[in-house]
Symmetry: C2
Subunit: 231 residues, 2 copies
DNA sequence: TAGTGGTCTAGACCACTAT
DNA sequence: TAGTGGTCTAGACCACTAA
């Protein structure tokens, strides 16, 4: 091996040693100081490389205890939370949508619970059907906390997408996401133009700004949708 | 605001300014040097904070062009690629599995294509049914490149899980993942103990070590499974 | 308490690219 | 070509925690 230059090469060299099982799962690897001496670089450079690998789940680091190869060096993967219009256009299709309903209502208990609101609190429900090249693509059911909409919804709501408006307007600071598969209800099947019971890919997302709940949204994709990412 | 101390507070302050729309989507923000002067810290500290935010999809950075707030500051989310046994045990349930089949065969064209192999190449197919507290949890259909298994499969294959054995033995360097929803085939339905056509959450994962394909696996989860993560 | 990682600094040079 | 981010250095101090 030639001496690694730069933190990316150090990261690659560490990965090689793990692959070759010079450093098997669970093993302690040399300290940053020792590696810096071996590679002839500053400790900060080693730190950068090892920190990246710890972030990727390959290494586990603890002060005083040192750095060890993860027992199951399962990688972490990253994916982009999609903006629906960009997602459709990224497939080379034309995006359009139809606002099905926009009304104040009392949300189902599950939604109120997810948002941490008292049962009975009134929220704004917005139901939207999105199309790709005119074909149903996605059914969106969103519950909004009206308290975070200082000026109300934009009057030209039909010309923009709520998803987009939100992400531009209310920068959120925290959220959780869950993916699952669900059978289409008769209503959903009719909207999406598929048989009842068809397997739908479902994304549920809840976001807060600080401790204030913003929105909880359920996206049901028409069959055939795949969410991809790279490790 | 009090002057931020440390890169995490700088990150938080930048996020606040984006939330307050002091820096709206698309806007150029001050240079690292200017922010370092404002916050009274070294440029490297500002760099660390802004680099994290760029990695999270909130900022976009280009040399000479400067740093701007992403037009759609959609966050990136991270999830762990699960190890099945740990996933089941993490739910407080007991994991077990049954090896359904382990045989050399010619894979379907789609699998060969994903792995970049010539159609007709022989691979090892391993089909496994995983249980949580004795209930069917996951059906695993895996195709392995025998070339990467230097010593063949371990003789006590029944006592360990192939998934786990692989992740410990063959450190991979690259992979892709796709999630989708599929209707259970009659075979899958019988294995998982559900009605044919039930909506299954499906994960497909292909991994390479360098340019050498290792394995392509399809995991079909019993209904009710949810993949969660946090932003 | 001592060893290890986490972070910061002040400065430097380099890489990329808008102009 | 000049401005901006990307990275590296040598050193320092701090925070956490295993022994």
């Amino acid at each position: 091996m030639s001496t690694p230059q730069g933190w990316e090469e150090i990261r690659a060299e560490v990965l090689r040693r793990i692959s070759r099982r010079d450093w098997p799962p669970g093993a302690i690897i040399p300290t940053e100081e020792q590696l810096a001496a071996e590679f002839g670089c500053a400790r900060a450079t080693v730190n950068r490389a090892l920190r990246e690998l710890a972030g990727a789940g390959v290494l586990e680091r603890r002060r005083k205890a040192g750095t060890r190869v993860a027992m199951y060096p399962a990688r972490r993967a990253t994916f982009e939370i999609p903006v629906i219009r960009l997602e459709v256009e990224g497939r080379g299709q034309r995006h359009s949508f139809r606002l099905l309903e926009q009304a104040e209502a009392v949300p189902p208990l599950a939604v109120a619970a997810r948002l941490g609101l008292a049962p009975g609190a009134r929220l704004l429900e917005v139901r939207t059907l999105h199309f790709a090249d005119g074909k149903p693509f996605l059914y969106e059911d969103r519950w909004l906390n009206p308290a975070v909409l200082p000026e109300g919804l934009p009057p030209d709501m039909q010309a923009t997408s709520l998803n987009e408006w939100l992400v531009k307007t209310v920068a959120y600071t925290y959220g959780d996401i869950a993916f699952s598969a669900e059978s289409a209800t008769p209503d959903e099947a009719a909207l999406l133009g598929v048989a009842p019971g068809a397997a739908l890919f479902v994304t549920e997302r809840t976001t807060w700004a600080g401790d204030q709940p913003i929105t909880s949204v359920r996206l049901a994709y028409a069959p055939g949708y795949r969410l991809r990412t790279v490790v």
